[in-house]
Symmetry: C2
Subunit: 156 residues, 2 copies
């Protein structure tokens, strides 16, 4: 463990760094301007119409203070709309726009290409195993970060 390159934490940072670079390159090559974080938020809003920001944050494990800026940028690009909820005047209900929906569909091939690209050094079986191991480690550590994953309406 003495070596930096054998530490899970260092490798996590490095793999994430490459994953983001690959994502941005593929998405830009496809003619879009969207970050990995913005993409995940957009997809989650599409799948959960009228979610509020806190629930959305839980669905994709974002910090509540981070999500404000992400939504700002998605709204500024005209991909989502943020409007005050009638049931709870504190909450902002998020919905995807027609352009957001079009973008989401058009960008999907590039996103999937990026997923393949970032594990291109691995065999298919190894890629699946990497995903499984990360999922397992993440599940065990979910509560250790300030922004844990919160399943849909399960506990609400």
């Amino acid at each position: 463990m003495a070596e930096m390159q054998d530490m899970p934490g260092h490798l996590a940072r490095r793999f994430q760094q490459i994953a983001v670079a690959v994502f941005l390159a593929e998405v830009e090559a496809a003619g879009f301007d969207l970050t990995p974080v913005q993409y995940a938020a957009l997809a989650a809003i599409a799948a959960n119409p009228a979610v509020d920001q806190i629930t959305l944050a839980g669905l994709i494990a974002y910090d509540r203070t981070t999500i404000t800026g992400v939504i700002d940028r998605l709204a500024q690009k005209g991909l989502v709309v943020r409007q005050a909820s009638l049931r709870d005047r504190r909450a902002r209900e998020l919905s995807i726009t027609a352009e957001g929906q079009r973008t989401l569909e058009a960008i999907t091939p590039a996103v999937e290409a990026a997923q393949r690209m970032m594990v291109r050094g691995l065999t298919k079986a190894e890629g699946k195993e990497l995903v499984r191991l990360m999922q397992k480690a993440i599940a065990a550590g979910n509560e250790l970060s300030r922004a844990p994953l919160r399943e849909g309406a399960a506990e609400r």
Copy 2:
């Protein structure tokens, strides 16, 4: 792949997020105030006396513009010293201070505890396999980020 939770890119972000949180918690519990990034830089400086910033960046795969701020903070904490090189007046030679060396040694147990904590959901064999797979994926993607790893003096 349709599901967010099956995408390597999303898992990479999440695992990194947990890894950082665990690191900071362990280090703070041990009575220190050092980020994962600062720790890696400090350790690399200790192992490579009088490195310049660009070489250091390559050793730990940091962006050259990021390293400036990291060194600023390490220097402000009194852990490293930055001085102009005599051979090349553009370069800044970095060295660890006595306090930096003490800190590095004292903090190591906490850093190793953090490495174990972030894979606590995995068996020992699974943890090793996760490390191997990340290393392999990273090696194949090394050149895809702006801040690739550059081995020591190998190609200089």
